[in-house]
Amino acid sequence: MSFKQIGRKLQLAREEKGMSQEQLARALGCSQSALSNYEKGKRRLYLSHLEKLSEILDKPLEYFMENNRPPVEKEHLLGGDRSDQFLHLINIIYQLSDEQIREVLSYIEYIKWKEKRGGQ
């Protein structure tokens, strides 16, 4: 988890809330260019900023801090380094029934649970 990742999550949370950079900047009490730099990871977000952002965007602090990849956006899905893998997966899933897709999702949940079990 880097400041770039925190910034990316901030952007996603802002978009989810339907706010523009200007609106969020005003609510946070900073300039729009500062907010843009926060989102790009070019300026560090400290605790007091993130506490305020958590409130404005209705997200817990952990949302910004946890080391999970932010959801992929449609336009990034096939443009990234793992696009071949993703395309292959999508093609397989495309052939499945709704029931089979539910089974695949529950297996994915199990894999994620197994991964988390190690720590406290």
Binding site: M1, S2, F3, K4, A34, N37, G41, K42, R43, R44, L45, Y46, L47, S48, L50, E51, L61, E62, F64, M65, E66, N67, E115, K116, G118, G119, Q120
Partner: protein, 378 residues
């Protein structure tokens, strides 16, 4: 743009310069005074200068960063080891100043103020590494009204003598950064021990130690933002971003002391019928030293000014640390050259300053790490 200092700043600098020159500097290279001695800290404590950034309501002087940097330059110019001990204390209080509760402020800050002021420490580095936080092992498990802390920290300034230590630990080894917190550990806590005192090649005065925690119980009231996982990482980065400017100030102090020593020597040393300062090569070396000291000073002031204004200080602070530490190393070595054989003599002022400057590119995040921070913001 106004580069002038205000009357209060000028008077404070004057007072501290006089104090450290008469009461502290004589012990820098004195053979009878190696290693930590509370007496030098007491000299500062009499004037409430052990942790002057503590707000007045908690017993401190409530100094801003720029004024603190001015004083730090004076302390470092007189005795870099004492400056390191003070800087470590300033570093430890930063998370409390930034996000501590009133109860934490009332409990931990007054201990570092007044005539009987104690010292504090900031413990992040572990044997496995100081740069890479993802391999940190100090772990805390929540139980009842607090946390059980296990692990160890190394190379911690003041650890053996601190009244309390700000320890960085994580509650999940899987999501370390997202679960980090700042734990305020009291020296007499059960399960806390000093494993060894480290001998270092410079900053001989500063007590530096390896410490360990075995099921040390820390009540929630002594954990900064205890309810908020991840607060520790954000506080840690902000503390470093503010603290690095102070390494800049220590660097300026060390470099200035070396320059003053070299200048005085060059004026009095006669070779080829004239003072060596009249030889252009020596004069140019002194000119470069003075220029560099000023460069480091201005970058430190800018970083401190940005901190005081609540601006974007991360990059400026990292730059002040890189430039300051490298300049301190260059200037102390250049001064040693001007002093000839005397610059290589064990127990001489310059020899001490060269050794003290050496560590500045490592502490508070190595200069490579600073460059990574600066690059990430370009």
């Amino acid at each position: 743009m106004d580069f002038s200092l205000n009357t209060r700043q000028k008077e404070l600098v004057e007072m501290v310069r006089e104090l450290v020159n008469s009461e502290i500097k004589p012990y820098l290279v004195s053979s009878s005074a190696s290693g930590f001695d509370w007496e030098l800290i007491r000299q500062l404590a009499v004037h409430n200068l052990v942790c002057p950034t503590v707000p007045e309501e908690y017993g401190g002087r409530g100094l801003d960063r720029l004024t603190m940097a001015l004083l730090m330059e004076e302390i470092a110019a007189a005795h870099p080891g004492v400056a390191a001990v003070i800087a470590a204390t300033l570093h430890a209080v930063e998370p409390i100043l930034l996000a501590g509760s009133n109860t934490q402020k009332e409990k931990f800050l007054p201990e570092l103020t007044g005539k009987d002021a104690g010292l504090a420490a900031f413990a992040l580095t572990e044997a496995s590494g100081g740069s890479d936080l993802s391999i940190m092992r100090t772990c805390a498990v929540r139980k009842g009204q607090g946390f059980y802390l296990n692990g160890s920290k190394d190379y911690v300034i003041n650890a053996p003598i601190a009244s309390w230590i700000a320890v960085i630990g994580a509650t999940s080894m899987e999501q370390k950064k997202a679960s980090m917190r700042v734990f305020l550990l009291e020296q007499n806590s059960k399960g806390f021990s000093i494993v060894r005192q480290r001998e270092t090649s410079g900053l001989d005065y500063a007590p530096i130690g390896e410490i360990s925690f075995e099921n040390v119980f820390i009540e929630e009231d002594n954990v900064i933002k205890g309810q908020k996982a991840g607060s520790g990482y954000l506080l840690l980065t902000q503390t470093f971003d503010r603290g690095r400017a102070m390494v800049g100030a220590i660097s300026v102090g060390i470099a200035r002391a070396a320059l003053e020593t070299a200048l005085e020597f060059a004026e009095n040393r006669v070779q080829f019928g004239t003072s060596i300062k009249n030889h252009q090569a020596v004069a140019f070396s002194l000119a470069d030293m003075a220029t560099r000291v000023e460069m480091a000073r201005l970058m430190t002031y800018k970083a401190c000014w940005l901190i005081d204004q609540g601006g974007d200080y991360c990059k400026a602070s990292a730059m002040a640390k890189v430039v300051g530490s490298e300049i301190a190393q260059q200037v102390t070595c250049a001064a040693a050259d001007i002093l000839g054989a005397r610059g290589y003599e064990k127990g001489s002022l310059i020899e001490q300053l060269v050794r003290d400057a050496r560590v500045l590119s490592t502490i508070e995040g190595t200069n490579n790490i600073q460059r990574a921070v600066i690059a990430s913001q370009l």
